[in-house]
């Protein structure tokens, strides 16, 4: 929202110590910050970056799964996958709309994505090689996303928190449909079981990387925690995910591709092996298996849709000149 004129993005708040202290006091009192409120420029900038990246992730996330819609093994699976991919598109739109309340335009965000400047979750730069990958994505990637997103429902910025509530409600079907796919394969023929195991082997580590760099190497963490944008550290969320997911893998009769993984009796959690952070940074910096293809696919879709946007704008202008009134509300 809202009335764009009021968004303070262009106006300079005088960020005196009193102003910053008063803002922090609102955060500490668990007050929500709303679009037209005064806020430190860095708070606005952090949110624009984070919500924008989150939105891009949802949009790019449609690509690896969209890859299998035409090849889903049954009509039931196909309908569910279509609905899931449509949801991801919807999630991207809720998030773009939340980011726009901070004064960034949709056009700027789109431009950033299709020019390759924007970051998005690096997991989507991995290929979906078999049908089992669709199961692994729903179960692991959406599972990891839920771990990240549930605490964001309490984020200090109102529009982001509200978007997250909608997203989380919808994600739980995503994870269940993924687990059901893997479960069906795991209980199937030897070849199907191998396919499920292979998918788990390839998606496990990238899923753990979704929580971001280890605590201490995460540049934006401390300030985001202070501002209650972030409620848990990367490592805390990663641990929660491991603890929730390992028993689900065991239930499938599959093994996790980590020899160091074992239950820690005293800490009551699973210890896991070293994550290959070189691989993570490599993909983040644009050298993952499909970074170029993903951005190219978004650019192609945008460019090929240009005539539709132009035609719709031209039509709207023509109709408004003819003075045709739209249907009135009630």
């Amino acid at each position: 929202m809202y009335s764009q004129g009021l968004i303070g993005a262009g106006s300079e708040n005088k960020e005196t110590p009193e102003f910053l202290a008063a803002f922090q006091a609102r955060i500490d009192a668990d007050e929500k910050i709303e679009p037209n409120d005064q806020m430190p420029a860095a708070y606005r900038k952090t949110l624009i970056r984070q919500i924008g990246q989150h939105a891009h992730s949802e949009i790019v996330g449609m690509l690896p799964e969209g890859n299998w819609i035409t090849r889903a093994p049954t009509l039931r699976r196909k309908a569910a996958l279509l609905a899931k991919v449509q949801d991801e598109g919807g999630h991207g739109l809720y998030l773009y709309s939340a980011a726009e309340t901070l004064g960034v335009s949709r056009k700027e965000m789109t431009e950033e994505l299709i020019s390759g400047r924007a970051k998005y979750s690096s997991i989507f730069n991995y290929p979906t090689q078999t049908w089992a990958d669709i199961g692994a994505i729903g179960w692991l990637v959406d599972g990891a996303a839920i771990m990240n997103q549930v605490p964001l429902c309490r984020c200090s910025y109102g529009p982001y928190a509200r978007a997250m509530i909608r997203v989380c409600k919808e994600e739980s079907f995503h994870q269940r449909q993924g687990y059901e796919i893997i479960l069906t394969l795991a209980e199937g023929s030897e070849a199907q079981k191998d396919m499920a195991q292979d998918a788990l082997n390839r998606w496990w580590w990238p899923s753990l990387m979704m929580f971001g760099p280890p605590d201490g190497e995460s540049p934006n963490s401390d300030q985001s925690t202070l501002w209650k944008i972030k409620r848990f550290t990367n490592d805390e969320l990663r641990q929660k995910f491991v603890d929730a997911t390992v028993p689900q893998a065991l239930r499938l009769g599959l093994s996790l591709p980590d020899e160091a993984l074992k239950w820690n009796e005293t800490q009551e959690r699973y210890d896991y092996g070293e994550i290959d952070w070189d691989e993570f940074w490599n993909v983040v910096k644009g050298h993952g298996p499909l970074n170029k293809e993903r951005v190219a696919a978004r650019k192609k879709a945008w460019d090929e849709g240009a005539w539709v946007r132009d035609a719709a704008m031209a039509h709207a202008k023509k109709v408004s000149q003819l003075n045709i009134t739209p249907i009135a509300a009630e």
């Binding site: 449509q86 939340a98 431009e111 509200r162 409600k169 240009a306 132009d310 704008m313 709207a316 509300a329």
Partner: protein
């Protein structure tokens, strides 16, 4: 796309069921009201969230500035006589 015009922003309001008021739920881009209604249906009501949708161009909304909060809303705080418990009614009158 640099010279492409930005497609207008619309605010979306949904009535979850009859008996409740329409409630703001987010925004979207559309070139006209027909497209905005269809997009609102697709984006905001995929799981039976609504029975009625309103869309309005965001530029048409006039909003109060949160910085004017005090002069806008504080005057209502000192009018305690607007509240029922300002008035003394003996207990034996019963519930009123």
């Amino acid at each position: 796309m640099v010279d492409e015009e930005e497609i207008p922003l619309w605010e979306v309001f949904i009535r979850p069921r009859n008996g409740l008021a329409h409630r703001h739920c987010g925004s979207l881009h559309a070139t006209d009201s027909k497209m905005a209604l269809q997009a609102a249906r697709d984006v905001y009501t995929r799981r039976g969230e609504g029975l009625s949708v309103w869309v309005i161009p965001s530029v048409q909304i006039s909003a109060s500035d949160p910085q004017d909060r005090e002069e806008m809303f504080d005057p209502s705080d000192d009018k305690v006589y607007r509240h029922p418990n300002f008035y003394n009614i003996p207990d034996d009158v019963g519930h009123m």
